[in-house]
């Protein structure tokens, strides 16, 4: 077993993990934060996207020991109590979700995108979400949600 220290959604954890465990397994199983989803487990679908030290990553591709000392934000870390993050609020209002399985990853990718590019062009939105599959929405309302989130975040 390997000892790691990680901060998840502002809370520090000291964990003893199997060296081959992924960050996704740690988040979902050890911490019980099941908002982060596993779609493919091999870094192709983006459903497990979380933010690690400011960058969006596929949690299924990060080994838990690699996350040692890092700050992680998951979907559960966005809302302030009852108040949704502007990105969550935009997806909620515009309808940028259907089945919801890709939604946590899609929102975390949007978070990383807007942190770097607060006013993305349509092309930058598409590029920013390239790693996240959605099979339900046809992406159209997701793009609208990102534009609305950008507006809300700048207000």
């Amino acid at each position: 077993m390997k000892e790691i220290r990680i901060t998840v959604n502002g809370k520090p954890y000291e964990l003893s993990v199997r060296p081959w465990a992924t960050l996704l397994e740690v988040i979902r199983e050890d911490l019980g934060l099941t908002g982060t989803k596993e779609g493919c487990g091999v870094g192709e679908c983006g459903a497990c996207t979380v933010i690690m030290n400011g960058k969006s990553v596929n949690a299924c591709l990060v080994l838990a020991p690699e996350a040692d000392g890092k700050e992680i934000t998951t979907i559960e870390g966005l809302a302030q109590g009852e108040k949704l993050d502007p990105i969550q609020q935009a997806f909620y209002e515009i309808g940028g979700l259907q089945c919801g399985f890709c939604t946590p990853g899609m929102i975390m990718s949007t978070k990383a995108l807007l942190a770097e590019t607060p006013e993305p062009t349509d092309h930058e939105i598409r590029k920013g979400l390239e790693g996240n599959f959605c099979r339900c929405t046809g992406y159209t309302k997701i793009f609208e949600s990102v534009r609305e989130a950008s507006r809300k975040s700048r207000r």
């Binding site: 982060t36 989803k37 493919c40 192709e44 919801g100 939105i125 339900c136 046809g138 159209t140």
Partner: protein, 769 residues
């Protein structure tokens, strides 16, 4: 129409849970002491199973149960009594690669997986057959003894006089079209947590879009009364037909392992297991002969459709019905002949998927009609307008030659909307060529059935319980697997009850409490569970009106309720809150329980798979679609820039939801048209990952606009018909039409990949020119 809630833009009722990550899916559930189940899968595609030795696996520390076919006592399942050919685990014979052979339950996933590798199976390999046309030939390897010719479903329908009509036609064309092997592509793989408790009841938290299929399967498989089977429905990560309608090997193994061990048992398939083994759309070959007059009016269609079925029958009888039944819509057609064959192969099993059955033949016939128009020198839009079925006058019905009845048909109106839009009207002014990219605009006009039915149980039901504070619980067995039905059903209840939308609360399906339901397939939930909800709400409203009338010494019909306020129609100043009325109604006398129930009654006209006569649902949606795209004449790469859909869904009840369905359906259709296809070589799927099986990503998406065509169908709540599957069906022919416009080449095989385009351009001497 003056509606308070219907037609308004409201957030989904489940949106908050989904954007915060608190919505729980099957994989998110666990129970103390839970075991993990893994399925051992066959490494061969077609073989006799001579022996299964599980002794080593059973001895591995941590293994608690090993399941094989013999545990299920020969039980098999299927769509019809005559097609129950599929066992939970391969029984005596393997029919496709990675079919389930055994299940292991162990203390964790790794031990379970390791144990599967210790199971020794002796196979006697058999020659396989992988092409449906080969499988139909005499002497082909036989996959099921009960179908020695490998044909699992066969229909022969004949309407009018096709031969005479062809003889009298000005033009007759014969073409071969084909659709590819595509998958549903949801991100949530099959998963379930199962518990067979000491009282002898089963509870499962399972990812099922049609939980009552699973409920019936488990009761039959475990020989239990239905009252002892409880399917509790988590949120569902997408459905689109096929796998999540049905049960999978893991489902049966998890319940059996729980029965044997007394522990809860969970399984989650890997996405690769899903893509290798789960039920997907049929690939179909359509040999089509079409005739027309000099003016382009269709005279006859003869279609021979051969579908690849894979190893079992599944829902194939319905797939083949749908492929034929749509031939005479949305264009007038007095003569058609349909010969449908669904053929067993040693490939994974094919079943339902969005656009079920209809997408294959509508693709073929919409395109073939354009080919005829081209030969006759008729504009493609004009060709469709000349042939499209007119919208029947209110109170009248259009009846096709095979007794499909249309109460409303927005086909012409939808086509006209596209015709007048700049994307079509000004297409000649748009750039045709930039660098090596040639641009084109194409159209389609298609139909889809909504409120679909199978041959058995059809009605959806709803129960509404009024709470004493003036809010309400809505219970239905209909499932929201992402399409948004929970939201639209709450909107319907709120509309009928005069309640605020937030005051109507719906929970997930739980077969112990919610009324039985056929399932979420065939664009049926809004129509049928919607009607049931309307009826249940009307019953509650009646009881409320009676209580208010009694209080105010008025007549019940004088009471109005709107936005959770109750008033007298004649004197709106006389009012009280709905909360107040709910208390009066619930507490007066010895007290009362205010509940309403309803079940749907639409869609019960005759239906005959054998002859193809009748309606496979309640009503029909119509979609006209324009596509603008560019084809790189050097690389063959297609970039789709614009989709415009004019869609007749009767009336969109939840506009955000209906738009989302159309957008999502059209993009899934785009995937099928130009990107997606399983490459299967001798039964081995070569692209079983999302990286290799190319679904549309954010960078592939056209700008999508939707025009609503309102027709107010009498066979749906508030005039609604279906939305989503129609847009899936309209996309492929529209895309093909646009590729033809860009390249001058007709592509008749889906998907039209860059390789196919380059090859065709080379053959036509147009490559890179």
């Amino acid at each position: 129409m003056d509606y308070a809630v219907i037609g308004t833009r409201v957030p989904r009722v489940d949106a908050r849970e989904k954007v915060t990550g608190t919505a729980k899916y099957a994989a998110d559930y666990s129970l103390p002491g839970m075991l993990w189940c893994k399925v051992l899968r066959s490494p061969v595609v077609h073989a006799k199973i001579l022996n299964i030795d599980t002794s080593k696996a059973e001895r591995l520390p941590g293994v608690k149960a090993v399941i094989t076919a013999k545990d299920f006592g020969g039980w098999t399942w299927g769509f019809m009594a005559t097609t129950r050919d599929e066992p939970p685990l391969a029984m005596g014979k393997v029919r496709y690669l990675h079919e389930g052979i055994a299940g292991v339950a162990a203390i964790d996933e790794e031990v379970a997986e390791a144990a599967t590798e210790l199971i020794k199976v002796d196979y006697e390999e058999l020659p396989g057959v992988f092409d449906p046309e080969e499988a139909m030939k005499p002497g082909a390897p036989v996959i099921h003894d009960y179908r020695p010719n490998n044909v699992s479903v066969e229909y022969h329908w004949n309407y009018g006089d096709v031969e005479k009509a062809f003889a009298e036609s000005y033009i007759v064309r014969e073409d071969r079209f084909s659709t590819g092997r595509v998958t549903k592509g949801y991100l949530e793989p099959p998963a379930s947590l199962a518990y067979y408790d000491p009282s002898g009841s089963i509870t499962v938290w399972a990812a099922k879009q049609s939980p009552y299929f699973h409920y019936r399967h488990l009761a039959a498989c475990f020989r239990l009364p239905l009252s002892k089977v409880r399917v509790v429905q988590p949120y569902i990560g997408g459905g689109f037909g096929g796998t999540k309608n049905d049960s999978v090997a893991g489902d049966f193994c998890a319940v059996m392992a729980s029965k044997k061990t007394g522990k809860p048992v969970k399984f989650i398939y890997s996405q690769e297991e899903e893509l290798m083994t789960s039920k997907r759309r049929h690939a179909m070959i359509t040999y089509s002969k079409m005739g027309a007059t000099k003016d382009g009016l269709l005279t006859a269609v003869q279609a021979k459709v051969i579908a690849e079925g894979g190893g079992y029958t599944a829902i194939g009888p319905l797939s083949m019905y749908l492929a034929g039944a749509s031939i005479a819509i949305p264009y007038k057609l007095a003569n058609f002949k349909y010969d449908g064959y669904r053929v067993f192969t040693n490939n994974p099993v094919c079943a339902a998927m969005r656009g079920h059955g209809i997408t294959h033949t509508r693709f073929a016939h919409d395109l073939q009609m354009e080919m005829i128009a081209e030969e006759l020198g008729i504009d493609f839009m004009e060709m469709r307008l000349r042939n499209a079925i007119d919208n029947p006058k209110p109170g009248t019905v259009y009846r096709t030659v095979n007794d499909v009845t249309l109460n409303t048909c927005g086909m012409k109106e939808a086509l006209t909307a596209i015709k007048e839009d700049p994307i079509w009207a000004e297409r000649e002014h748009a750039p045709k060529r930039v660098g090596s990219t040639s641009f084109g605009v194409g159209i389609s006009g298609t139909a889809y059935v909504g409120g679909a039915r199978q041959l058995g149980h059809q009605s959806c039901a709803a129960v509404i319980r009024l709470c004493e504070d003036g809010t309400a619980n809505l219970l239905t067995g209909a499932t929201d697997c992402g399409q948004g039905s929970d939201t639209v059903l709450c909107m319907i209840a709120a509309e009928e009850l005069g309640m605020k939308l937030d005051d109507v609360v719906i929970k997930r399906v739980d077969t112990a409490y919610t009324p039985c339901d056929p399932g979420s397939y065939g664009s049926r939930v809004t129509l049928l569970a919607g009607q049931a909800t309307q009826i249940a709400a009307a019953e509650v409203r009646k009881q409320l009106a009676e209580a208010a009338a009694k209080t105010w010494n008025a007549k019940p019909e004088e009471i109005q309720i709107r936005n959770s306020v109750v008033s007298l129609k004649s004197n709106p100043d006389k009012s009280m809150t709905l909360e107040n009325l709910a208390k009066i109604a619930s507490y007066s006398g010895s007290g009362a329980v205010i509940m309403g129930k309803g079940y749907s009654s639409y869609g019960l006209e005759p239906l005959d798979f054998k002859t193809g006569a009748g309606n496979g649902g309640t009503s029909y949606s119509f979609t006209a679609q324009a596509t603008r795209l560019g084809v790189d004449l050097e690389t063959g790469h297609t970039t789709v820039t614009d989709f415009l859909l004019a869609h007749d869904c009767g009336r969109p009840l939840n506009p955000i939801g209906a738009e989302g369905q159309n957008e999502g359906g059209a993009v899934q259709g785009l995937g099928q048209a130009i990107y997606e296809e399983f490459i299967i070589d001798q039964g081995h799927t070569r692209n079983s990952t999302f990286l290799d099986y190319k679904m549309p990503r954010s960078t592939d998406i056209p700008d999508i606009r939707i025009i609503d065509i309102i027709t107010d169908d009498p066979n749906g709540p508030y005039g609604a018909k279906e939305a989503s599957e129609g847009s899936h069906v309209s996309a492929p022919p529209s895309v093909m039409s646009a590729i033809h416009d860009a390249t001058g080449i007709w592509f008749k095989e889906q998907p039209v990949t860059p390789e196919k385009i380059v090859k065709a351009l080379k053959e036509a001497g147009k490559w890179g020119k």
